[in-house]
């Protein structure tokens, strides 16, 4: 059993109820889809217990709604572990991870700005990129803008 499989099994046992889909692409790449409500506890488990490093998060709009991939890195095995959540189009909001690590702050502000995803309990959800010179309520990366 490879190191990655052990890690995935460990996570699966801990969050049996929450996991919607698991995709292990290779020894060093894996993605788990969970509902938005389970994000904080899973991120906390990865960061605090498994010592994963938060790389960044990528958000996109698709037919399913707004998708966010939270990328974590396990530097011992080179595993890039993605937590995938799908948020509904009419109410895209999710709990902020800033309470766990400072590194989430900027990227959440950026996602809020370009796609209009609301991060609950973020200490300072101001615009990051276009401070003061972009219209309120217009989100450049949304499909309706294209």
């Amino acid at each position: 059993m490879s190191e990655t499989e052990k890690i995935i099994d460990n996570i699966k046992n801990k969050f049996t109820q929450d996991i919607l889909n698991t995709e292990v692409k290779s020894k060093r790449r894996a993605t788990i889809t969970i509902p938005g409500s389970a994000l904080t506890k899973m991120a906390d488990f990865l960061y605090s217990d498994m010592n994963f490093r938060f790389i960044t998060a990528s958000a996109l709009e698709s037919g399913k709604g707004f998708e966010i991939y939270y990328h974590f890195s396990n530097d011992k095995t080179g595993l890039v572990f993605n937590i995938h959540v799908v948020l509904p189009k009419n109410k895209p909001e999710i709990e902020s991870l800033t309470c766990l690590f400072e590194a989430a702050s900027w990227i959440e502000r950026e996602m809020h700005e370009i796609l209009g995803i609301n991060f609950l309990n973020h200490p300072n959800l101001e615009k990051l990129i276009s401070e003061g010179n972009w219209a309120e309520g217009v989100y450049p990366y949304r499909k309706e803008q294209q």
Partner: protein, 402 residues
Amino acid sequence: MKFDYMSKPTIIPIGPYHPLQAEPELFKLYCDGEIVKDVKWETGYNHRGIEKLSESKTFDQVFFLVERICGICSTSHPFAFANCMEEIVNVEIPDRAKYIRSIIGELERIHSHLLWAGLAGHFLGYNTVFMWVWKYREPVLDLFEIITGNRNSYAMFKIGGVRRDIPNNLVPTIQKNLDALKHKLDLLIGVVMDDPVIHARTKGVGVLTKQDIINFAAVGPTARASGVAIDVRQDDPYAAYPLVNWKVITAEEGDVFAKIAVRLLEMHESVSIIEQCLEGLKKEKEGDIEVKVKNVPEGMGTGRAEAPRGEVFHFVTTDGGYSPVRHKVRAPSYTNISTFKKSCVGQTISDATISLAAVDPCYCCTERMAMVYDYYNKKPILSGKDMIKLSQQKTEELKKKL
């Protein structure tokens, strides 16, 4: 009504523009006398919408686009993007292409670290170091010109391999340049590591603890100087790095001196990697530099590469067409810059310049600080030049004392 000037902290702006820098930002230092009390930052001055642009380009064109994200480490973004796309296509590139990729990547690390060392010297008041180091950097850029045709923005990468070969008859020329460089590096490392003034000026300044690094998710030399031994080249090996012997350089102290030491010693490792890659090139057949990739299937990929400043991360989703559906780029400075808040608070203004510089990207900010007037007392506050002068004065005073 008399306004109470004294209770207002002085705001010192650092930034926002410099043409050298990938990410211009504005730092505002809130100072009480000499001591920095708080730091606020504003970013996005040079947001070029590259992620969005990428969605309207073909995969081949995206290489040229991401190459222009950064002017100094212009190969790390194509490197990460190539790793990412090759994960989606699921292709293994020929060994010769791997060696060539690593040679370009390491030459870039050397020229970037030399550039940094020169600027660090300038900020500390060692202008001779600045001149010398940039002189040593020239032969590295010449090597780039010989290999790729360009001194910067090399356009060497493509999905499945590299665009140009390094002919075997070029290997002795490259080796000769490297030998000369090694000699100069020894000289530089000796001078910097043994100088008592540099020790006094940089030790214990701008300290980042291991926990700070983990909290801010800092990467690259910034993390390694605080004892966090992360390096994508070793952790998630790509290109020729698993084929050669080298070690990750770390230091424990987390101060500016540790960051200087890590960067300087890393250059020797880079030279050694290049030499081993050149040996590797001799064994491989000339011209075998790519695997033809006809189309990119639907999928999602995450690619990373170790740039001179740390891990570059690319995320791409594809739908079977010719362009990315979503392309997310995270440069190392994005996480490293935020550590500034930790490393500068509680320091004097003259140390803020070098603390800021130690992270590397912020260098360029300091070069071009805006001269801004304080609204309340209409007095001009410190400009970039003033701050560098303060930093250099402190070194001068130390020199006299020692």
